[in-house]
């Protein structure tokens, strides 16, 4: 095989490093880009550069943001008494879409997982404790981590550390998703749903 364009080859090489993109897809994308006008290529390149240069992390909650503090932490209309603890910034995005929660967030940047060499010291847990300790307005911390082994361990660990502060620690309810029928729910979910039932 003879390569006639080193540039094309280099683009394919870079694109194939993207998640979920194999060499074939990378080839298709590169050839597609080659056929576009240069405005599009430049704006795509600029978007990628901006992603690295302009997007930062909010020093308060750890969420991705163009400004520091982020728009949520900076918004006086948000409820200052509640913090919702999530694993990653995309969880913030998901909860925000529901428009249900009007408090502020705390992004941990992961969950405890010794297998992947992630201990509590690698997460933004100390920052959370500091926030809760310094801000008297906060009276509820809502844990919204995934109900798997790692999420549970992290919730347990944080709950224990928060005991020294005068805040209520709650967790989101686990149970039956909307729009499904009881017969399709697995036993574990059902027993969780029963355990956390509430009065009508």
């Amino acid at each position: 095989m003879q390569i006639t364009s080193e540039y094309l080859e280099r683009a394919i090489e870079q694109l194939s490093k993207l998640p979920g993109t194999g060499r074939k897809s990378a080839q298709r994308i590169a050839i597609h880009l080659l056929k576009q006008n240069s405005d599009y290529a430049l704006s795509l390149a600029q978007a990628i550069v901006d992603l690295k240069e302009k997007v930062t992390r909010c020093s308060v909650c750890g969420n991705v943001s163009d400004s520091d503090p982020c728009k949520i932490c900076d918004n006086p209309k948000r409820d200052p008494s509640a913090i919702c603890v999530v694993e990653e910034f995309n969880d913030v995005y998901i909860i925000e879409k529901s428009n249900e929660f009007r408090g502020r967030y705390h992004v941990l940047g992961g969950v405890i997982s010794p297998m992947d060499n992630i201990g509590p010291d690698k997460l933004r847990i100390q920052e959370l404790l500091k926030r809760v300790g310094e801000d008297d307005q906060i009276n509820e911390v809502i844990l919204a981590l995934n109900p798997d082994a790692e999420g549970e361990a992290t919730s347990y660990y944080i709950n224990k550390l928060l005991k020294q502060y005068d805040v209520q620690v709650t967790r989101i309810a686990y149970g039956i998703p909307m729009g499904t029928e009881l017969e399709f729910i697995d036993e574990a979910t059902l027993s969780r749903a029963f355990a956390s039932r509430n009065s009508f």
């Binding site: 082994a149 992290t154 036993e187």
Partner: protein, 377 residues
């Protein structure tokens, strides 16, 4: 539950095989290496998502090909009719489909079609180490309790995390203890449920085992089994939790030193007895064989009583090992089982004297070089 039709593509030496099965007894004969076991192993794949012969899916693929596919049509009481298919290719791995929709987790398949398998390897159950018995008990209970299987998967995950923590952590012991706590809580919660369920099932199994051993051996030796775990087992998970926490606390220093989880159901043992003698230490070859056979029949009868539908029973090359008298007893017992049965045997002799192969309820098949032919008489 019944498998009415199976299709195999590139599955060991079956390049393309399609068979309709009888609702009751299916006897498959043929020379060694002709592909008898592969036929029932394919059905096993559709019930348990894996082979009962080989540990690696790769070796099951026909050697000239890069993938295999199996399809089966099932009928039964719990779910009236459904299709299960399983594909494997070297690149994509294994996928299971139920009625053409892919299963998210392979473990979701377990229990849909309960199956009991008798093989010459069953001797290992009583002869070899505790791991053999644990894995048998786990597959036994998983087929009748999805919650148990979920707990097993969860427990394994938590234990792996906990072991990683014990191995990787370098720092003060007090911090490690705080780091261990969230894992201990989950280890105890899932582990205690596992112990309680094992206890409950094994207690019930005792009676079945005694009855089936007496039937097969024709002797009045009393069988027994003892479930050994880190505490006196019982059926209440809450009480086990208490003992588990105490035990973890007791061994904590040792676990930190040895960097591994030493207490839990992953160290359990089931000891079998014949007339108060420990079978593993004092049993003869013949006793081991009959005990293992009775254990599997006990499983069959347990399932039949416990479930709303009858399990599928598979006997792979079991008759070669038995004398005429035992063969007769076993065949009589099989006649009493109303569910579907698959038997492979290199030697066709014993069956035709006891069973009528009418092509309706019972069918007789001959396999040669991966080709199957129905030959009822």
């Amino acid at each position: 539950m019944r498998n009415t039709h199976t299709e195999l593509l590139n599955f060991r030496n079956h390049v393309e095989t399609k068979i309709d099965w009888a609702p009751h007894l299916n006897v498959i004969t043929g020379p060694n290496g002709s592909g008898k076991t592969s036929l029932i192993d394919a059905i096993h794949y559709l019930c348990m998502s894996r082979s009962f012969v080989s540990n690696t899916d790769m070796y099951v693929v026909n050697q000239d090909e890069s993938y295999f596919m199996i399809k089966g049509h099932f009928e039964g009481q719990i779910r009236s009719e459904f299709d299960v298919s399983c594909t494997y290719s070297r690149g994509d791995g294994k996928k299971i489909f139920v009625n053409d929709s892919p299963l998210e987790k392979l473990s979701d398949l377990i229990g849909m079609v309960p199956v009991v398998t008798l093989t010459p390897d069953d001797k290992k159950l009583t002869l070899e180490g505790p791991a053999e018995r644990r894995s048998y008990i786990d597959s036994f209970i998983s087929q009748i309790s999805p919650g148990y299987l979920r707990d097993l998967i969860e427990f394994r995950r938590v234990r792996k995390q906990r072991n990683s923590l014990l191995q990787e952590y370098r720092g003060p012991a007090s911090v490690l203890e705080a780091y261990l706590e969230p894992w201990n809580v989950q280890l105890v919660e899932t582990g205690s449920r596992i112990v309680a369920k094992r206890y409950e099932v094994l207690e019930k199994l005792k009676d079945y085992l005694e009855e089936d051993y007496a039937m097969i051996s024709g002797m009045d030796l009393t069988t027994n089994l003892e479930y050994q775990t880190f505490c006196t087992p019982g059926s209440d998970p809450k009480e086990i939790e208490k003992a588990y926490f105490e035990e973890l606390e007791r061994v904590q220093a040792k676990e930190i030193e040895r960097e591994i989880t030493t207490v839990g159901p992953h160290r359990d043992e089931v000891v079998f007895y014949l007339d108060d003698f420990e079978l593993r230490r004092f049993g003869s070859q013949g006793q081991h064989r009959l005990f293992a056979l009775s254990l599997k029949l006990a499983q069959l009868h347990y399932y039949s009583d416990e479930l709303d539908d009858l399990p599928i029973l598979m006997l792979d090359d079991v008759f070669g090992d038995l004398d005429l008298k035992k063969t007769e007893i076993l065949l009589t017992a099989l006649q009493q089982h109303k569910g579907q049965i698959f038997i492979t045997s290199a030697n066709p002799v014993p069956f035709k004297d006891y069973v009528t192969f009418d092509g309706e309820n019972n069918r007789f098949y001959k396999v040669e070089n991966g080709r199957v032919e129905e030959v009822n008489t």
